[in-house]
């Protein structure tokens, strides 16, 4: 018996109303992600891949169509339920790292745990995650501005893993890094995938996409190859 996909998109469209006319960012997209998959979504700039990622990550709502999380339609979920879903089930890794500049590396990783449990991390989980992605104890107390791009992305990966999410959603995770650092980050993701983690990655880089075991090509809001 097939298991329920982690995320399913049924006939999803997203239309942005612009002064020059409507923009169809996604056009009747059907797509699903199975547990344990490493999916790369590729496409040129403006193809709709970021919009697709926002839909999968429940950061945006479709104009039409249905998105299901563990078989449940997101249109039936309240904003608080979607927030809990993002907090508990999705680990976001962004191109610009998106760390909170006011917090140290340690606090950035600890933050999702506090959101979930309502108190500071009393275990060694935060430190363990940061050590796992290669940060030293001293670097943990640095603010994002005191870290290199690669180190910030490592912190971002540690933060994404904090609540042990069902899948990682990566938006151009190596887009701001040099090739050496990109390889290190991709090896880290590959290692996570080998341990059973589901990963969805948006990229326009074919080298990066090679790490995935399933590549989806999107163009003009339509999935053209899967």
């Amino acid at each position: 018996m097939d298991s329920i996909p982690v995320v399913e998109l049924h006939d999803v469209s997203k239309i942005y109303s612009m002064p020059a006319g409507d923009v169809h960012a996604l056009n009747h997209v059907n797509f699903s992600i199975q547990k344990g998959e490493f999916v790369a979504i590729m496409g040129p700039s403006g193809s709709g891949k970021s919009t697709l990622m926002n839909m999968i990550g429940c950061l945006d709502v479709p104009t039409s169509g249905i998105i299901k999380i563990d078989g449940k339609s997101t249109s039936d979920m309240t904003d608080d339920e979607l927030t809990i879903h993002r907090r508990d089930n999705i680990g976001f890794i962004f191109q610009k790292y998106n760390l909170i500049s006011l917090l140290t590396a340690y606090e950035n990783v600890e933050y999702p745990l506090i959101l979930k449990y309502g108190h500071h991390d009393t275990t060694t989980r935060t430190a363990d995650l940061l050590r796992m992605v290669g940060l030293t104890d001293a670097q943990m107390q640095h603010t994002p501005y005191e870290l290199s791009g690669g180190q910030q992305q490592r912190v971002s990966i540690a933060r994404a893993l904090a609540n042990d999410p069902k899948f990682l959603l990566c938006d151009e995770p190596t887009g701001n890094l040099d090739s050496k650092m990109s390889t290190q980050i991709m090896e880290l993701l590959k290692d996570l995938h080998s341990k059973g983690r589901t990963i969805v990655m948006v990229t326009h880089n074919p080298v990066t996409a090679e790490y995935a075991d399933h590549i989806v090509i999107i163009r003009d809001g339509v999935i053209v190859d899967e």
């Binding site: 990550g57 309240t78 339920e81 006011l102």
Partner: protein, 413 residues
């Protein structure tokens, strides 16, 4: 993915959200201090005005209430006695007044007195004072001695504390007055009267010289036996209005005061109530004026918070994307507004607590009222008002931040 149940405390307190709020305030120290100054000034103004008003009323009441149990009845109508036109209260007037008072209560003292202003010579100095003559048995009903004894005979007097201090008089000192025929009469000070205070509504002892009727008439004459005024002291001050009305009716023929009246009645209890009303009205008025400064501060805080939301739009987007509730985003900005309000209010109130005693002491020579509940109540009132104003000011910016679209917010640089 059901809704999580949280305790009320968990709903209003989030350690990391509070930490983010305090760090942001620290990061923008100068802006935080500037917006706080507005609240400090606003809360200081409200607190100080309230405290001064309450302190002033408290001090006045403590001074007035001691004398707010008397009616002072003075003659207005003219009388022709032995072909001479004069004013005063006759024995019949006194009997009429007494019967009017008795129609209301038996708990009262009635003290008729002679009274006039005279030059007094003390050594080489000359001064003026109000001299009063009253029955030996009545003096102790009206005054309290701080030292000495009550005056007897025609050469002993008692003087008010202020008069004694101003003229360096003590028990045994001598003062000289002139009779109507220019004859010198030297009197001995045998007692010092406790001050009734500058706001006394009845018989004021501060600068008075009091002696027996025998002493007064020997000095001034008896004015055909007509008294200059009568003081009625009610044991229960709340009966004063009824006594006032009864005397008005008996002496003036009607309860309302009029230009045709034969006597004028000064009701100290009514005066005190009018004074209280005036003080309450002025306290409300000054508080409203002070509130305007707080309103200006509130507008400034809203502006600062809106700027903060604009600057941190991306941060809000990130926080929302990784699972921060809208309510927690609201909390973050409300914490900031609340912290500005709380710290600003505490500083404003503390400044008011320093300034008010100084001001009160300068105005009325005493700051004892600062320790009363009606004054100190402005400490929590000031803090709560400052806090509420800031929270209300931060409400719209916080709501705006909480409702940002995470995707659009994250794409902001």
């Amino acid at each position: 993915m059901s809704k999580e149940s949280k305790t009320l405390w968990q709903k209003i307190y989030s350690p990391m959200v509070l930490s983010l709020a305090t760090r942001n305030l620290k990061l923008n120290k100068f802006r935080t201090i500037l917006s706080m100054i507005g609240i400090v000034i606003g809360v200081f103004a409200i607190c100080a005005m309230g405290m001064i008003g309450a302190g002033f009323t408290e001090e006045m009441n403590s001074m007035i209430s001691d004398t707010a149990d008397t009616l002072t009845i003075s003659p207005i109508g003219e009388k022709i006695i032995d072909g001479t036109t004069t004013t005063g209260l006759s024995e019949k007037d006194l009997r009429d007044i007494e019967s009017a008072v008795k129609s209301v209560t038996n708990g009262f003292d009635m003290i008729p007195m002679y009274s006039s202003t005279k030059y007094i010579y003390i050594g080489d100095e000359t001064t003026m004072a109000t001299i009063s003559g009253m029955d030996d048995n009545d003096i102790n009903k009206l005054v309290t001695l701080t030292e000495g004894t009550l005056p007897r005979g025609s050469t002993n007097v008692i003087v008010g504390e202020t008069f004694a201090e101003d003229n360096d008089l003590r028990i045994g000192s001598r003062i000289t007055l002139l009779t109507s025929t220019g004859q010198e009469v030297t009197c001995r000070v045998v007692g010092i009267m406790e001050n009734t205070g500058m706001f006394s509504l009845g018989f004021s002892t501060d600068t008075a010289v009091v002696g027996s009727i025998e002493w007064y008439t020997a000095l001034v004459g008896d004015n055909h036996g007509l008294y200059d005024n009568v003081i009625v002291r009610a044991y229960d001050p709340t009966e004063l209005s009824a006594i006032d009305a009864a005397i008005e009716k008996k002496m003036n023929g009607k309860e309302d005061k009029d230009s045709d009246d034969t006597v004028y009645i000064l009701n100290s209890y009514e005066v005190m109530k009018v004074f209280d009303d005036i003080m309450s009205m002025s306290a409300i008025f000054t508080t409203i004026i002070s509130g305007i400064s707080l309103l200006v501060a509130a507008v400034a805080i809203t502006n600062v918070m809106l700027m903060s939301v604009k600057e941190r739009t991306r941060e809000v987007g990130i926080l929302r994307s990784i699972g921060t509730f809208r309510s927690q985003i609201m909390q973050m900005f409300l914490y900031e507004a609340g912290l500005i309000g709380l710290i600003g209010s505490i500083i404003g109130t503390a400044l008011a607590l320093i300034a008010c005693p100084v001001f009160l002491y300068g105005m009325i020579g005493s700051a004892e009222a600062m320790l009363t509940v009606s004054v100190l109540i402005y400490v929590p009132i000031g803090i709560v008002i400052g806090l509420i104003v800031c929270l209300i000011s931060g409400l719209y910016p916080a709501w705006k931040a909480a409702n940002l679209n995470p995707v659009e917010a994250m794409s902001t640089d």
